[in-house]
């Protein structure tokens, strides 16, 4: 089996033009990942710039309302730039700088990763170009403005379905055009090796902190950890340090869109099959001839037809469970958390909150679950209002 495999998943299915670039990245990553100076510099950025460690908040009202397991919220939404994306971006930008790269390119769906990349580029004095599906530039106009404010160029992608998958394709194309000075700051735990590993490692700070915080607050590990899954970076970050703790249930919440029995869904585990795309072998929503399906979700960040290879493996082995949450359920959870806890979650994260509402009442009161709030929901308010029939403008 070739490099970067998780069971049969993963690998490096990319054009020859990019092979030396990913090899160079892997070499640099192996050199720096255990380098104390690099880690010290990164920890400082995490703590002083991004505001880590993020809080583990006991959601008392939600717990009482649901009447079962104690619910904790891992507040990645409180990070600088408002989402977990900054963890990975600070790591990759620092790595890129060490590699002598002066330009960052990135894809973005909801815009959170684009904003995080533009932020790191500004911080490190690097050039930045973000590719974003044209449809997403419209549903996430505020984030487009934020990126521009941070000095990035935002390129609307009009090919294909003009959403996240097309943004990834276009960023890959751009990387083949210009490699020498450019690092592709991939935003999720997907793509060709070494990206799934690098992104997972930088995001695993989430589960590292959850573990410490739970031991401190409860004196034991959680019974279940929940996170939403598109490509799966906040989920793998939430799961990673618990994989060996077999008693901790790992639950990923996919976007079912209008339902897994409709064509308007982005639930890859529920509806996809094994395939090779965007540099990796994994599960993909596709037709019988392997044409990638035009997926749909209300959440631009989960609107992706594939899933990271480590999730595919965790699914195969049964170590993690993946559930599908519809638009309706996510929107209800979005509103529920706002009213119950005074926290407006990203619509992506609301998918995990939705499943917590199903799961917690079925569990005992002495059990605990942790839900990762991957991002904050300010960016989604206008879209949710429209979903509810209110025409408001940002």
């Amino acid at each position: 089996m070739t490099k970067g495999r998780f069971g049969i998943h993963g690998g490096q299915y990319i054009p020859e033009t990019l092979m030396n670039a990913v090899n160079e990245l892997e070499e640099a990553y192996n050199k720096y990942k255990d380098d104390p100076d690099f880690q010290k510099e990164l920890a400082e950025l995490f703590n002083e710039y991004a505001g880590r460690p993020s809080r583990l908040y006991y959601a008392k009202r939600m717990t009482e309302d649901l009447g079962g397991a104690k619910v904790y919220l891992k507040r990645e939404d409180l990070n600088h730039t408002g989402a977990h994306k900054i963890n990975n971006v600070l790591g990759q930008a620092l790595l890129a700088k060490k590699m002598g790269k002066t330009r960052l390119i990135a894809e973005t769906g909801a815009g959170q990763h684009g904003v995080a990349t533009a932020t790191a580029a500004a911080l490190f004095g690097m050039e930045c170009v973000v590719f974003m599906g044209k449809e997403d530039t419209e549903r996430q106009a505020l984030n487009v403005y934020r990126m521009k404010l941070l000095g990035a160029d935002v390129v609307p992608v009009t090919t294909g379905t003009a959403t996240l998958k097309d943004a990834v394709s276009e960023t890959m194309r751009e990387w083949t055009r210009r490699i020498e000075d450019t690092h592709y700051c991939l935003g999720s735990a997907m793509g060709p090796h070494p990206f799934p590993t690098i992104v997972r490692d930088f995001q695993s700070v989430i589960s590292k902190e959850i573990k410490e915080q739970m031991l401190e607050k409860e004196g034991k590990l959680p019974d279940a950890v929940l996170a939403c899954v598109g490509g799966g970076s906040n989920a793998i970050g939430t799961f990673y340090n618990f994989i060996e703790d077999r008693d901790v249930k790992l639950i990923g919440c996919e976007a079912a869109g209008r339902g897994v029995d409709t064509f308007e869904t982005a639930a890859t585990i529920a509806t996809g099959r094994e395939g090779i795309f965007h540099g990796m072998k994994s599960y993909f929503c596709q037709n019988e001839y392997g044409q990638i399906a035009p997926v749909y979700s209300i959440s631009a960040g989960l609107d992706y037809p594939g899933i990271g290879p480590e999730h595919a493996y965790l699914h195969d082995t049964g170590r993690a469970q993946y559930v599908a949450i519809t638009d309706d359920e996510a929107v209800e959870a979005f509103e529920y958390l706002a009213k119950t806890e005074g926290i407006i979650p990203a619509i992506e994260s609301a998918h995990a909150v939705a499943y917590a509402r199903v799961l917690a009442p079925k569990m005992r009161k002495d059990q605990t679950i942790v839900v990762t709030l991957s991002g904050r929901g300010d960016k989604d308010c206008a879209a949710i209002a429209r979903y509810r029939g209110e025409d408001i403008h940002e």
Binding site: T2, Y13, E16, E274, G275, I276, F284, Q291
Partner: protein, 254 residues
């Protein structure tokens, strides 16, 4: 051994690319026959893919039009079967790994053997991952074509040593599409290929004019032209087969 070598026998090969089913399979068939009549030595047949990540806008457009028209892998196989009744010019498929993987590698390559496909080019299958399909290719006598890029440097010898059929040399960085100028130091890349490979090499990406084709063919064993053909096809409407024939003639005589 496939019959790809015949395309390079005692001459520089001219290799046109066409996306099957753009705008329909009947047009593709007519265009292929016209191009062969006018001197095409090997034809690269693209099986459309929804997300062709190595293609520029022109070929992306062709893929989209073909899929919109309802083309499937099975329909492309049926067209090739028809073409084989009229020509024995070598054919190679150009598509993406998922098209083969999803169809089932064994089933896909069995079909290739049956309909007379000589080779297959998968731009998202680098040297490191070729074992995914190579055993099936070998079993069915289909050459898995290797690509070498301007960034390949220390990888050239390794790739060239194991190459089959011919080597596809990518002329420049980036995706497919016409370029006014090709600035890569191809001569030194091809020198390393020559020292290591048993098969010929042809240059593709960015070639559109007879002058460029002549220059690239002089450096290597042939020239591959894609986007320029797709664009001409798109502009010519019903006259496409004839126009493509004329174009191939002009390129071939350059």
């Amino acid at each position: 051994m496939s019959k790809i070598y015949k395309a390079f026998e005692n001459k520089k090969a001219f290799i046109p690319f066409i996306t099957c089913g753009d705008p329909d399979l009947d047009t593709t068939k007519k265009c292929v026959l016209e191009m062969i009549k006018n001197g095409a030595d090997l034809v690269e047949l693209g099986i459309p893919f929804s997300d062709p990540t190595a293609e520029g806008p022109v070929i992306q457009g062709a893929n989209e039009r073909a899929l919109k028209g309802g083309v499937t892998t099975d329909k492309v196989f049926a067209m090739v079967k028809e073409l084989r009744k009229e020509t024995d010019t070598p054919f190679v498929f150009m598509t993406y790994a998922n098209v083969v993987y999803s169809y089932g590698a064994e089933k896909f390559l069995t079909a290739c053997e049956e309909i007379g496909i000589d080779g297959i080019i998968l731009p998202d299958l680098p040297y490191e991952e070729k074992e995914e399909f190579l055993p099936y290719c070998k079993k069915h006598g289909v050459d898995l074509i290797s690509m070498i890029a301007p960034t390949s440097s220390d990888r050239i010898a390794m790739i060239a040593k194991e190459a089959e059929g011919f080597i596809y040399v990518v002329s420049s960085l980036g995706v497919t599409g016409t370029r006014s100028e090709i600035t890569t130091d191809l001569a030194s890349i091809i020198k390393v290929i020559r020292e290591n490979a048993k098969v010929p090499c042809a240059i593709g990406f960015g070639i559109s004019t007879p002058e460029q084709a002549a220059k690239m063919a002089a450096l290597s064993d042939g020239a591959i032209v894609g986007s320029a053909i797709i664009r001409l096809l798109e502009e010519s409407g019903p006259a496409a087969p004839e126009k493509l024939g004329e174009y191939v003639k002009s390129m071939k005589s350059a």
